[in-house]
Amino acid sequence: MNATVLILAGDGINCEEATENAFRLQGLQCKTVLINQLISRPQILDEVQCLALPGGFSFGDELGSGQILALKIKATLKDELKNFAQKKKPIIGICNGMQALAKLGLLPFPFEGDNNLSMGGNVQGHFINKWCKIEYHKNHCHWIKWADSKYLDLIEQYPYLPIRHGEGRYLFKNQNILEKVEDQNLVVMRYSENQNGSQNKIAAITDPEGLILGMMPHPEAAMELSLLPMKKAFGPGPGHLFFNSIAHFLKQ
């Protein structure tokens, strides 16, 4: 049986449909549920093999991006989520999902304190929608490790993804944490040029196990080359990499 991905929706999340589409393109089954549905039946987490926190403006980002979403998950699903992660099931957080993963303390070091990483406001002081050149670090992260070579070629040829955020500046608690992140090779992506003041130009990180990926750029919005503004080309886009890699991982 094919693996199933649980995709969260509701409370202001708004990229669930595009994210679901990205997983489906890799032949994965998807279950998109409202957060309140999951809270009323947390067993859903046992029935799925992967969890995605899509982008959006959960709770209007009113107390900081991802803040209330993380609080809600902590208040209602803390043990279930911990259990999920300990079963070595992969998790991805994109944009607002990344922000929530940081607030949940799942990145960079799961369950080692909540405050190792914050997502600060862009140095520009406002929201930015822009396609950026990305440098990939092919590390142990299962969200890129198992990708087909054609998708690896694709990111060489089209190393671009869009960012759409107002608070995407990786800010680690202190220099030690940042160094630990670099030493353990947890950075998955950097911007070629710093886009928002992020420490070490970081755009995405993983955990030491490589199961949790948190990224500010939106791969689900780059599934087709026709969506790339800077090139006139057709066919699968660079966003496939992550979903393809995890599909292989889940089939193992």
């Binding site: 929706a9 509701g10 409370d11 202001g12 708004n14 990229c15 449909e17 595009a18 589409n21 409202l34 309140n36 549905q37 009323s40 982008g55 959006g56 403006f57 709770f59 209007g60 980002d61 009113e62 107390l63 900081g64 803040q67 209330i68 609080l71 809600k72 208040a75 209602t76 405050n115 990483l117 914050s118 600060g120 520009q124 002081g125 406002h126 929201f127 930015i128 929608n129 822009k130 869009p162 759409r164 800010l171 680690f172 608690k173 939106h218 689900e220 919005a221 599934m223 026709s226 969506l227 503004p229 800077m230 090139k231 006139k232 057709f234």
Partner: protein, 996 residues
């Protein structure tokens, strides 16, 4: 007293401070220490903020605040939507803490205190506070909350036994916007014997209750019933008027004659099968592909945006999203677009400061506010903003025109085989309201906007202003679309202007009546009178008709989606719209009377126009001299004009691709050049959105404005690859008051301008074969009041027609940006190569041009058939994939349009043109219709020429692309070399927002 805390988050990296007053309700029985832990959990982030909590030990934050000699404190007035506070309260409730929260902000005072810099006094309390007072203030629980939220059951009777003048006065005082004729009709109705009998039998007073008179006023408002567009009009032309005469016309409704009939004729003549639902629902519905219905709607939110630009634009965009959500059985909003017509940002340089209008926001504040409103409205509800523009003209000082539009998609068949465009309501179905609560905000919005802006009406101002809540709206959207797919409701509409009185009043027509029961209406404020509950336009609400058997399931779904729903009575077949509170009947009006306002009869007289209105003072302009160096000078001047300069810095703050369907983005190409149209991919086709706007032409003749606006909207999307035979257009009119009255001596002339715009619209739509699928009008865009110098003034906007075009293309050959190769050729295609006008071109706005080479008659030399042929030729060329870049030529002139294309690929061009000087400059800087400039591969030249020849369309080879980023122009008399980096620098820096 309940325990309370003030909490401040002070940013660590720059001065930014926001705060919250949290008052715990008595039920929160946690001890204080536990509460503090929760507060920290909710508000703290040690990496980002210093947290200050009143009564707690200071960790340095408070000290640094107190080191400021003075601060500015802002907080919302009671009853104004406070999204931050609502979110905080919801977050605290996750941990079992029930509390009331209000938010505030603290600013540093850098210069002399001017409250307007820090906020809008209409919605916020803005005050200066010293460090000493601040310390005291931190120790006070100073905010009052609305504890009780109950209806004040007071109903008054509206006495009709008054003289006509007294009634007129009363109508104005109560912001009813009823005209004498309508007041007479109301008196007549209530004086009828059978009506008196009926009312007696229902226990209602003889005269209308305030609930009834308000329902009538909202329903009959210009905003809701479009009386002017339905009026009988006698049109004639003044003897002095010499050009383009139509003679005397008796018009039986502008809408019926020029919009509906025109469209019906086009559909019949062209046998169009794809126009699915027009004019009857919230939005126009068309079908361009097998499985998808596309719904399009454009609204204006002018009056609210004049008073509170942020709230006005935000509620505008959320409101038009709800129009789409309420079309048929509900469509998903997939793309937003917005057009702002504003006073130029460098306002004081054009006017004296004293000419600013009292009560109207400063132009700079308006731009910043409406921009932020559209940003939050789209971004936070997950709808991409794909297209739009800023248009600046001094005459928008009277009112900014804020156009907001939304495209929605809906499947062609829903569950159980239901057709999504069909709505049915049966007697006994429940009236259910979903979404936000009802407050005092937004009372009289419909009638207020149906009058000129009078900023002296302080009490009305504060209630018409509203702030939107994108989170509630997003949840509502999640809920509605799920409920639709589960087939849980029979009909839906949004609560916009007129609130429940309009939504229920309109839906009642489907079943034949309604009993609206307001007992369980959720309120957000205390002491609302019944009439206020019924007409409040509080945001984020939809009204549904529900089969009673499905109510329980609907409730379950609502709970999961975190949406509040309430049952407010039932639909009936009594033919009456009645309102009840605690089983007492407060209103009962027959639908036939309510939905048949007396028709207006109006006169329209067209005369020669004032070429420049009062505000169009002569600005010192350089005189055009056709000589070497002029092209460079003209380009530099034009690219520095805020109407032309890059808006990229503004637009990139909008999310333009959430949903992952935006294949044509506002900015594309390797080096970011702007696109004229937006493109949204669906299953099989790409939907193209473009718009046309030519308000300056209304100064000459609104007939020409309409033709030019439609042409621009269409060539916009044709440049992007649209099939010219499958285009739908929308018309949005914003005009000065066209109803003549003692207060409005210009009414007949203004109406004549509107008539001529409609004639133009009819002609061009017919010639291009494009149905008008939806539209809206806003007719009172005037200001009457004082300016800062204390003079009584009256101002009106330029009569403005926004045309929105929706077309389709294929991904394979759409034009999504500039992808020029170094050996490409530069070409121009279209009638504008020879037929073009300097008059009202952007160059003419910026520089003084000789007029003698253009006669008034020249302006009417338009061949619409030739234009349509050109669109068809361009489409053929797109299908052959000949273009590496293409733009339509607009009023900025072909050279500006070419500059933008070159910029996207960072290449130059060498233009060699054999023309005399005057014709050369016109070719470069004049405006034209149905004309395009672009680049093609050198090998494609023959085929392009052949196609142009076969469509009998003018074609001109302008020159070739060169590697160096430079524009060379050569003709027999002129030789210029222009550095494009320098131009780009001007273009990108002339109009940028502050980093706020």
């Amino acid at each position: 007293m309940s325990p309370w805390y003030k909490i401040i988050r002070l940013s660590k990296d720059k001065f930014q401070a926001e705060g919250f007053l949290v008052i715990f309700s008595k039920q929160s029985d946690q001890c204080d220490e536990k509460k503090l832990i929760t507060l920290k959990k909710v508000f703290a982030d040690d990496n980002l903020y210093q947290l200050i909590i009143s009564g707690q030990e200071d960790t340095g934050g408070l000290r640094s605040l107190l080191s400021l000699p003075q601060m500015v404190l802002t907080s919302y007035h009671l009853g104004v939507t406070d999204n931050k506070a609502c979110a905080a309260s919801e977050a605290l409730s996750l941990f079992g803490l029930k509390c009331m929260v209000s938010s505030f902000k603290i600013f540093k005072l850098e210069e002399e205190f001017n409250p307007l810099i820090f906020g809008n006094p209409l919605v916020e309390n803005i005050r200066l506070i010293s460090a000493l007072d601040f310390k005291k203030w931190m120790g006070q629980c100073d905010h009052t909350f609305i504890a009780n939220k109950k209806i004040n059951p007071q109903v008054t009777v509206f006495n009709l036994d008054l003289s006509e003048n007294e009634l007129i006065k009363l109508s104005a005082e109560k912001c009813l916007a009823l005209n004498p004729n309508e007041l007479r009709a109301i008196c007549q109705y209530f004086n009828k014997n059978e009506v008196r009998e009926y009312r007696k039998s229902q226990g209602l007073p003889i005269h209308p209750t305030d609930v009834e008179i308000e329902i009538i006023a909202q329903t009959w408002s210009e905003h809701c019933k479009h009386k002017i567009f339905n009026a009988e009009i006698d049109y004639r032309e003044d003897k002095i008027f010499q050009h383009k005469k139509f003679g005397d016309i008796k018009i039986n409704g502008l809408f019926k004659t020029y919009i509906k009939k025109t469209t019906e004729e086009i559909i019949a003549k062209r046998k169009i099968p794809w126009a699915i639902s027009l004019f009857t629902d919230n939005a126009g519905v068309v079908q361009y592909e097998e499985d998808v219905l596309a719904c399009l709607k454009v609204e204006t939110h002018n009056s609210p945006s004049a008073l509170d630009p942020y709230g006005g634009a935000l509620t505008g965009i959320l409101g038009v999203n709800r129009d789409i959500l309420g079309v048929g059985l509900g469509a998903r909003p997939v793309a937003n677009f917005d057009v702002f017509c504003l006073t130029p940002p460098h306002f004081p340089q054009i006017f004296e400061e004293g000419e600013m209008l009292v009560g109207v926001c400063h132009p700079q504040k308006i731009i910043e506010g409406v921009h932020k409103g559209v940003e939050d409205g789209g971004n936070k509800s997950g709808i991409p903003t794909v297209n739009g523009s800023y248009f600046f003209d001094a005459d928008y000082l009277a009112k900014p025109l804020i156009f907001v539009g939304t495209l929605g998609f809906m499947p062609t068949v829903l569950s159980e085989g239901r057709r999504p465009a069909e709505k049915n309501i049966f007697p006994g179905d429940l009236i259910v309201m979903a979404g936000g609560k009802v407050g005092r905000d937004g009372i009289h919005g419909a009638t207020f906007s149906s009058q000129e802006l009078d900023t002296s009406l302080k009490t009305e101002l504060s209630t018409v202003v509203q702030i939107g809540d994108p989170l509630t709206q997003k949840r509502l959207t999640d809920f509605i679309l799920r409920a639709r797919d589960l087939n849980l409701f029979r009909a839906i509409t949004d609560n916009g202007a007129g609130g429940l009185s309009s939504s229920v009043g309109e839906m009642a027509q489907m079943s034949g009546g309604a009993n609206l029961r307001i007992d369980f209406c959720p309120l957000k404020t205390d002491g609302l009178k019944p009439y206020e509950v019924v007409i409040s336009e509080s945001q984020e609400r939809m009204t549904l008709a529900i089969d009673p058997l499905k109510f329980e399931e609907l409730q379950k779904l609502a709970k999961l989606c975190a949406v509040e729903i309430s049952c407010l009575g039932e639909f009936t077949d009594t033919q009456y719209f009645s309102v009840f509170y605690q089983d007492e009947q407060l209103a009962s009006l027959p639908l036939a009377f309510l939905h048949q306002p007396p028709e207006l009869k109006l006169k329209a007289v067209f005369k020669n126009q004032n070429f420049r209105s009062l505000f169009r003072k002569q600005i010192k302009k350089e005189i055009v001299k056709f000589e070497n160096g002029f092209i460079s000078l003209a380009l530099k001047t034009l690219l520095n004009d805020p109407n032309i300069a890059s808006k990229e810095e503004w637009v990139r703050r909008y999310d333009h691709e959430v949903g992952a369907k935006t294949v044509i983005k506002p900015y594309a190409s390797e080096f970011n050049s702007p696109n004229g149209a937006g493109g949204i991919k669906s299953k099989e086709v790409v939907y193209l959105l473009g718009h046309g706007l030519a308000p300056k032409w209304s100064l000459l003749d609104p007939y020409l404005m309409a033709i030019r606006s439609v042409d621009e909207a269409i060539r916009n999307i044709v440049a992007a690859g649209a099939d010219p035979e499958m285009i739908s257009i929308l018309d949005n009119f914003c005009t000065p008051d066209p109803v003549s009255s003692p207060k409005n001596s210009q009414g007949e002339w203004q109406l004549a301008r509107l008539v001529r715009a409609n004639i133009g619209l009819q002609e061009v739509a017919t010639a291009y074969g494009t149905p008008l699928i939806s539209g809206k009008d806003s007719m009172k865009n005037d200001f009457s009041g004082k300016n800062l110098a204390g003079e009584l003034v009256k101002h009106s906007v330029l009569p403005t027609l926004l045309v929105t075009a929706l077309g389709k293309t294929q991904e394979e050959f759409m034009n999504k940006g500039s992808f020029i190769n170094q050996d490409d050729l530069v070409v121009m295609i279209g009638p504008g190569i020879s037929k073009n006008t300097f008059v009202l071109s952007s160059l003419e706005e910026n520089m003084q041009t000789p007029r003698n080479f253009e006669s008034f008659e020249d302006l009417y030399q338009i061949d619409l058939k030739e234009n349509m042929n050109c669109f068809k030729a361009i489409y053929e060329l797109h299908k052959l994939e000949v273009f590496s870049s293409l733009s339509d030529v607009n009023e900025d002139g072909a050279l500006v349009n070419l500059f933008e294309l070159l910029m996207g690929s960072k290449v130059g061009a060498k233009l060699t043109i054999d023309k005399n000087k005057q014709d050369l400059f016109k070719l470069f800087f004049a405006s034209s219709l149905a004309t395009f400039i672009g680049t093609i591969g050198a090998k494609k030249l023959n085929i392009v020429q052949d196609i142009c020849l076969s469509f009998q369309i003018p074609f001109l080879l302008l020159g070739q692309i060169q590697k160096s980023y430079q524009l060379d122009v050569e003709s027999s008399k002129i030789a210029e070399k222009i550095n494009l980096s320098e131009l780009e620098n001007i273009y990108r820096k002339a109009f940028t927002p502050g980093d706020k």
